[in-house]
């Protein structure tokens, strides 16, 4: 059964998707599978190995068990400072 995840996009992923955030329906239960679907949907070529993932405002593992309604953010390599 599909779940609904809240996705936020930053930097190059925001440019690519054309949006700050969206609700994404998916059968994925881990960030790894969710990213594969999101990347395919939006034509993102950035490999997951280049990204980190955050769930509900904290860094998380790619095989973390997602819950319906989670806020999931795929973080491009940072460049602050």
């Amino acid at each position: 059964m599909a779940r609904h995840y809240r996705l936020l996009y930053f930097a190059s992923l925001r440019d690519r998707t054309g949006c700050d955030g969206e609700t994404f329906s998916s059968t994925a239960t881990q960030p790894r599978d969710l990213y594969a679907q999101v990347a395919q949907h939006h034509g993102i070529t950035l490999a997951a190995e280049r990204l980190r993932v955050a769930i509900n405002g904290e860094f998380a593992d790619w095989n973390h068990a997602l819950q319906d309604g989670d806020e999931v953010v795929f973080l491009p390599p940072v460049s602050g400072g």
Partner: protein
């Protein structure tokens, strides 16, 4: 006040510096990151920082707590700009006060290095040739 903050307005270094004051501190080391007019050989006109604010604040605060735990320092403050900046603008400020300078230098370096490595903030440079691009930590462009 939190030790790590984000600001969408020009930073007031005088006010920030006063937060470091302590009668038992003999050394203060501060780092200022300014917007440069070039990067990797390309002319830069301006830039913009985006932050994933809740996580940036949490991770920034962790870094400040690490610095206070690892070095013999008294006060530590860091503020990072968000939004659009021009050449010469102050993008990030780190200030450390300590009894002695060894710890102040080491902690200041630790904070700026970890901020650049771990905090979810992204820099978009706008070049004089009309292009723009998001950058990796090493200054090279991100291909998404």
């Amino acid at each position: 006040m939190s030790a790590f903050r984000l600001s969408d307005r020009e930073l007031d270094m005088r006010a920030l510096g006063q937060e470091l004051a302590s009668p038992s501190a003999g050394a203060c080391v501060s780092f200022e990151g300014w917007v440069r007019d070039r990067n990797e050989g390309k002319g830069v006109l301006q830039l913009a920082y985006q932050a994933y604010a809740p996580l940036a604040l949490a991770e920034g605060e962790r870094i400040m707590a690490e610095a206070l735990a690892q070095f013999a320092i008294e006060r530590a403050v860091c503020v990072h700009r968000t939004g659009e900046l021009r050449i010469g603008d102050l993008a990030v400020w780190v200030g450390i006060s300590a009894a002695h300078r060894d710890a102040a230098f080491a902690a200041c370096r630790y904070v700026i290095d970890e901020i650049k490595r771990r905090v979810p903030i992204w820099k978009n440079e706008f070049y004089s040739d009309g292009a723009s691009g998001w950058l990796h930590p090493d200054g090279s462009p991100v291909q998404s």
